[in-house]
Every structure is written in C-alpha cells, then in structure tokens.
Amino acid sequence: MAVTVAPVPTARPDTGGRIRDAALVCIGRFGLAKTTVDDIAREAGCSRATLYRYFDGKPAIVRAAVSAERDRVVAALVELGRAAPTFTDAVVAVCVEAARELRAHDALQFLLAHEPEAVLGHLAFGPGDRVLVAAGDAVAPAFDRWLSPDAATRAGDWLARLLRSYVLMPHPPVDFTDPIAARTFLELLVLPGLVSAGLPESRELP
C-alpha cells in the first residue's frame, strides 16, 4: 500500500504557514470580524507588504487557514484509524481525536461562542450537505482496512454527522473527548449500525 509521507515539520514554518497560524491565533483572541490584516501581520512577525505577497486579503488568509487545518486534522484521523487494531478501536480513536481537536480549537470555539453565524452558515442545511459529503470522503481511508470503499465513506459520513451534533451543538449527553464515555456510547448505539445489514461488506478483524 502506498503511504503518503507528511512533510517533516520544521522549527520555522514557511511564511505562508506562519501567516495562516497567526490568523487562527488572532481569531481565537478577537474573533473573525475584529481581526485585521495588521493584527495578523504583527502576530506573524512580518510586514503588511510581505503578507500581501502571500495573500490578497483577510478572506484569502482565512480560507487558506481553514483548508490547512482541515487537511491537518483529516491526516491525523486517517493515521489513527489505520493504526488501530480493530474497527471498533478505529472508530473510537477517530471520534475522540476529532472531538478533542474541535474542543481545543481556540479559533473555532471563539466563533461558536461569539460569532456563531460565521461558522454555522457553513455547517447547516445546504452548505452542511457539502461539508458532510467532503468529510465522509476524507475520513473514509481511516476505515478501509475493514470496510469496502462505499461502506467506509458511509461510516465517515455518519461519524461526521455524529460529531457535528454531539461536539458542536450545545448540551450533548455524552462527552466524546472522554475515551471511555465515547467507547461505551459508540459500542451501544453507533457501531452496531455501522456493521449492520446496511453495510453488508463490513467485517471485523480479530
């Protein structure tokens, strides 16, 4: 199986990466509306002129930051899923890690608390359709040791729905960042459905 090797992280990320990271720090601190290009340049330790050589404004920086964060989290989830000894362990690991990433993400949490419309417009109704389809496709490789490609995609889709509701929406009855609570809940209600008649090609390895 071909293995994609992630670039080795270096002590000093490239300037574009530093600007993206700086934008996330600023959004976590001031929110999206109040963050300015000057704030981002200052946080990144570069001049406005340098920043504009990489990005043509705040929306472009935010788009690049979101897409880099998505790629980083998806790569981590796929690696965890593939390294798990059983399908159950893979599902638990992916859910717990995704929940922790979402909960610990300062920029995302600031926006959910203070500017929810900046996030929810991309997650609910029609845009939600696109996000869920993309998430299912992206996370599917985490499960392809145990499931057919279709079933793996379908499982990825379902877990994305689960996390959208239980981690991003208020008052969940279970805390998915807690591995024991997550495993109990997943084994009880979710896993039987993922390996059921609806997913005929699924199989659990010992």
């Binding site: 609910a124 389809v133 379908r154 209600l189 059921s196």
Partner: protein, 195 residues
C-alpha cells in the same frame, strides 16, 4: 396561565407572518404588534428581550408546529422503525416546501442558523420525548432489546434524524430502500432485536 398563553400564540403567529413577508432583519416589534393585534407593552412583558427574543421563540414555535404536524400524519405507524421510515422522507419534503423557512434560508441564512442552534437543544428534547414512548412500545413488543437505554436512544435518533432532514448530504431520503438501511442500520442498529 391560559390567557397569557393565548396572547403569546397570537404574538408568535403575527411575528411569523411578518417574517414571511418582510424577513427577519426588517421585522420590528411595532410590525409584530400590528400583525398580532397585541400592544407593544404586552409584547415586551411576554418577551422581555424584545425583538431578538420574539424572533428566537418564533423560530422555535415554527419548528415545534412542524414536528407536531408530522406526528399527526404518522400517528398510525405500527412500530418505531416504520414510523421513522415514513417520517424522514416526509419531513425532508415538508422542509423543502416550508415557505417561511425557505424564504429566510434564502435571504437571511446567517440569522436563521444562529437561532436554530440556540433552539436545537429544545427541539431535540421535544422530538426525543415524542420518540421515547414509541421505543418503549417496541420494547414491550419484543422488537427492541430489553436492556437498551431508551432515553439515550431517543435522544440519539432525534439528533441524527434532524441531521438527515436538514442536510441529507449523500443520502437520498426519497429512496425507500436507502431510508430503510439508514433506519435499521445507523439509526436503530444498536437496539433492534431483528434488523
């Protein structure tokens, strides 16, 4: 307090009319007062948060009505899996045909999304409370595992049903075979005795 509830209903119905006509941003407390025949002072007594509170509660009220109507149409399903198999496509269709909701989604989606998240907890609670006795009936009939945590199950099915109705994504809720797989697989696979 029946009289207060009645006035409240009139305000919510009036606000719903205003939103459908003018959108959320342009609707004022004066407009709602005029549409409902209730004074400004009474509206502020019932909704101390003013316009924001009226809008938020109107969204919640519309959502409650939506699910009550759905329940009325589906009351005679023989068991919970079949209820869901009929409810999901119907709810999706009704959502797409809901004039007020579609208008606001088209013109002011950000405003609506923020309100819906605030309201979602309440709506999930109401749907779960509706599902619970259906699950209990199926457990007594031997269709649902005797030891299952039905309150947790009802809450889970409510959350994920809402997810499917609002954003079906890759799933086609108009396809009965696909809906059956979702209901007996992902949604109820953990508690059904025979899928």
């Amino acid at each position: 307090m029946a009289a207060g509830d009645d006035t409240r209903q009139r305000v919510l119905r009036g606000a719903s009319e205003c939103i459908g006509r003018d959108g959320m941003a342009k609707t004022t407390v004066d407009d709602v007062a005029a549409a409902s025949g209730v004074s400004r002072a009474t509206i502020y007594r019932l909704f101390p948060g003013g316009k924001d509170e009226v809008l938020r509660d109107t969204v919640g009220w519309e959502m409650d009505r939506f699910f009550l109507r759905l329940g009325d149409e589906l009351g005679d399903a023989p068991d919970f899996p079949e209820f869901l198999e009929r409810a999901l496509p119907l709810a999706r269709r009704e959502l797409l045909e809901h004039d007020l909701l579609q208008k606001v989604l088209e013109t002011e989606p950000d405003r609506l999304n923020a309100l819906i998240t605030v309201q979602q907890h309440r709506v999930i609670g109401a749907i779960a409370a509706y599902f619970l006795p259906l699950l209990e009936r199926d457990r007594d009939a031997g269709l649902v595992a005797a030891g299952a945590d039905l309150a947790l199950t009802a809450e889970y099915v409510a959350r994920l049903s809402l997810s499917l109705i609002a954003s079906p994504g890759r799933h086609d809720l108009a396809d009965p075979a696909e809906v059956r797989d979702l209901v007996r697989g992902e949604l109820l696979g953990g508690v059904l005795v025979n899928r």
